[in-house]
């Protein structure tokens, strides 16, 4: 006889999901900018150590959804989020959650490279320093070196650590921003069109980097490029007009999608 309460069932369900490797779960997520509704009841899960790509035409809500995952929308006036988003089964919109801690666990890389007007070293050291991750100077040196190495920037930057980060090329700046995000050892890294301001060679480097980062981090990436989604991701979610149209394995999505709209978008019929 099964006497479990509804809550217990849900809990068990959540547990089984997390066992299946779900890092973040979005349930009925809606976002409003003032009166305007930007997202409509999106249900989307993010798997652990997986690259999840969010695709869709401009203004479809993919960036908005991405920014709900580390509560970056909180910094926008008049923005309201409803529904439930969990990180390791803990609600990130719970009043007891400290946004600062959340963002240390869910890092973010932006569309345009935005290094601080500080030296390369200080750009990387910024996060670890505010979170007290390094006790000594040599600890900090180690964090800076390993972060730059993980971002594939060490060989280019090791002789110019004290030079301003803004002096690097666009592609290098973006990898610096990735290194900066990696330096605080987050669990999830959100990337908002990280290659849209980069040339093809820099893009290839960043994509290669995303591939490597997958072993240690869970990555969610918003991209406008179908090819990029196909190259870097294992799971793909397609948004349209604020709705989640389809979420599937990337291979299936690009060969045999379930939804006609996905097919149309991938074939370039709209968007």
């Amino acid at each position: 006889m099964n006497m479990m309460s509804e809550a217990a069932v849900e809990k068990a369900l959540d547990k089984s999901m997390s066992d299946a490797g779900l890092k973040m779960i979005g349930k009925d997520v809606s976002v409003y900018y003032g009166e305007k509704r930007a997202l409509f009841d999106v249900n989307l899960n993010v798997r652990k150590n997986t690259v999840t790509a969010l695709i869709g035409p401009s203004g479809c809500g993919k960036s908005t959804f991405l920014r709900t995952l580390n509560r970056m929308n909180d910094t926008i006036d008049g923005c309201r989020v409803t529904g439930k988003i969990t990180l390791d089964n803990a609600d990130i919109y719970d009043p007891s959650v400290d946004v600062v801690e959340l963002r240390a666990r869910v890092g973010m890389v932006f569309q345009k490279p935005n290094p601080f007007p500080k030296s390369i070293y200080e750009n990387i050291a910024y996060g670890p320093r505010i979170h007290g991750l390094a006790k000594t100077k040599s600890d900090m040196d180690r964090i800076v070196e390993s972060s730059l190495q993980r971002a594939g920037l060490w060989n280019e930057a090791k002789d110019r650590l004290q030079e301003p980060g803004t002096g690097l090329s666009g592609g290098q700046q973006q990898r610096l921003c990735i290194a900066r995000a990696v330096a605080v050892s987050p669990e999830v890294i959100l990337m908002d069109e990280p290659c849209s301001a980069l040339d093809p060679i820099a893009t290839a480097k960043v994509e290669e980097l995303i591939h490597e980062l997958r072993t240690n981090f869970t990555i969610v990436i918003v991209t406008h490029s179908m090819q990029q989604a196909a190259r870097v991701s294992q799971r793909t979610a397609m948004f349209h007009l604020g709705n989640l149209v389809e979420e599937n394995d990337t291979d299936k999505m690009f060969t045999n999608p379930d939804d006609q709209r996905t097919q149309d978008y991938i074939m370039g019929r709209f968007g």
């Binding site: 600062v100 963002r103 890092g107 973010m108």
Partner: protein, 456 residues
């Protein structure tokens, strides 16, 4: 007379523009091939040719007319070739007074004759001037109309004239500044022939109340600028201590913390502070703040002078808050949103973001604002004239009275002034010092602001 002439020139230019425009239209209609300039440019070109040379002639005429007439009148007075320049200038002013009918006493027959001569010459000159200007305008209009044709580059000619006019305007501003500087330097040089340069620059006593006439009883006089300059810096320092933290913190609050509606109300209110006349600040300082400080000093057992540096400095600080807060506000707002988001995304708090990202990025702009406010404080006159003291004193005590450069300039130039006396001339030397100090501050401010522009 010249007012009518100016009106005539304006009218002539307007009608010539119209005539030129219609003539160009007619010519273009008959023209074969491509027309270079649109008719309106031909019209403007004619107007410029009509008005500008005639206007320049008018200006030159007005500059030289009085000198020439004076020379002619003077030459007509018997025995005038033996007068020295000051005597003839006194005579000429008497002649002019008589000619315009201001009689203080019955003039001598020579002066009467000279006045009549002067009046007739003035009348002739006025007619000649009107005729010359009219001829110049007519010649200009004639040539302007003559060149109208389908291939004439009227647009280039008009654009060149406009460019020249703009260049002239900017040169005028520079020339006026140079003129001010030269008059300062010239009189200051006069002063340094009477008081040694080193005594002025390094002297520790400032007692300029020396006798101007032989029968006056006064002190020996000492012209050491150090105590006066020191007073200026003490009061400015007090002002900066009040204004810098208040201004920067209010800018941070308004850009980073306050609700946009609150900001929309408070920011203009704060900027009203900059629009309050300084004389109002002055009596606020002398009637409200200074007595309050004195009472507080009594209560705490300090001796406070009624004209304390603290009162003047604190009120001056309030006056310059808007300079600092407004420019810092702009500097914070100019930091790209991406910087803030980048910091937040790394888990930084608002405070950490402000201290470690925004402040360093906005610092050059803030420094520019602070230096601008400082040069404003150094040059501020009315508040200190009303609220600061007159006695130059080298003291660190902010409750004591000090004097400032601007206060001393005002007191030196009020009342009896004689321009071969060091007491009066000292004002120019002080002015020069003040000018150099604020110039240096402004140069530093400009330099930092420019550096800041290159940042992003």
């Amino acid at each position: 007379m010249s007012g009518y002439l100016l009106a005539f020139l304006a009218l002539a230019a307007l009608s010539m523009a119209y005539i030129g425009n219609s003539r160009a239209k007619a010519t273009h209609k008959a023209a074969v091939g491509k027309v270079h300039s649109r008719p309106i440019y031909h019209g403007l070109n004619v107007a410029i040719w009509t008005a500008v040379p005639a206007f320049v002639l008018l200006l030159v005429w007005l500059v030289f007319q009085s000198t020439i007439v004076n020379q002619l009148v003077l030459a007509g007075i018997p025995g005038s070739e033996n007068f020295d320049p000051s005597a003839s200038s006194i005579l000429m002013s008497e002649v002019r007074q008589v000619a315009s009918g201001n009689l203080f006493k019955e003039p001598s027959p020579e002066v009467k004759a000279a006045a009549a001569h002067y009046q007739s010459l003035q009348g002739i000159a006025a007619y000649l001037m009107a005729a010359a200007v009219a001829v110049a305008a007519a010649i200009g209009a004639f040539f302007g109309l003559k060149v109208i044709g389908s291939r004439y580059r009227a647009r280039h000619s008009v654009e060149l004239s406009v460019t020249l006019f703009m260049m002239f305007s900017s040169l005028l501003a520079i020339l006026i500044t140079l003129g001010i500087v030269f008059s300062l330097v010239f009189e200051a040089f006069h002063f340094f022939t009477k008081v040694p340069f080193t005594e002025f620059l390094f002297g520790l006593r400032w007692e300029p109340q020396i006798a101007m006439r032989a029968d006056q009883v006064a002190g020996q006089g000492a012209f050491g600028v150090i105590p006066v300059l020191y007073g200026t810096f003490l009061i400015s320092a007090i002002a900066m201590i009040v204004a810098v933290p208040t201004g920067i913190l209010s800018a941070i609050f308004l850009t980073e913390y306050s609700h946009p509606k609150f900001r929309a109300v408070v920011k203009p209110l704060l900027e009203i502070l900059a629009g309050v006349p300084t004389v109002v600040y002055g009596f606020f300082a002398v009637l409200t703040v200074a007595p309050a400080i004195r009472d507080l000093g009594f209560a705490l057992g300090f001796e406070a002078s009624p004209n304390s540096a603290l009162a003047a400095g604190a009120v001056m600080g309030v006056m310059i808050i808007p300079f600092i807060s407004s420019l810092s506000d702009d500097a914070f707002a100019a930091v790209p949103r991406a910087m803030r988001e980048g910091s937040y995304a790394l888990g930084a708090t608002k405070g950490e973001t402000i201290r470690k990202v925004l402040l360093p990025a906005a610092l050059p702009g803030i420094v520019g604002g602070v230096l601008l406010a400082l040069s404003r404080a150094v040059g501020e006159t009315m508040i200190v004239v009303m609220a600061a003291g007159l006695i130059a004193k080298l003291t660190l005590n902010p409750l004591d009275a000090v004097t400032t450069v601007t206060v001393q300039i005002v007191t030196l130039l009020i009342g009896d002034a004689e321009f071969d006396n060091p007491k009066t001339l000292a004002a120019f030397a002080l002015g020069l010092v003040l000018f150099i100090v604020t110039l240096i501050l402004n140069l530093i401010a400009l330099h930092t602001v420019r550096k800041y522009r290159e940042k992003y």
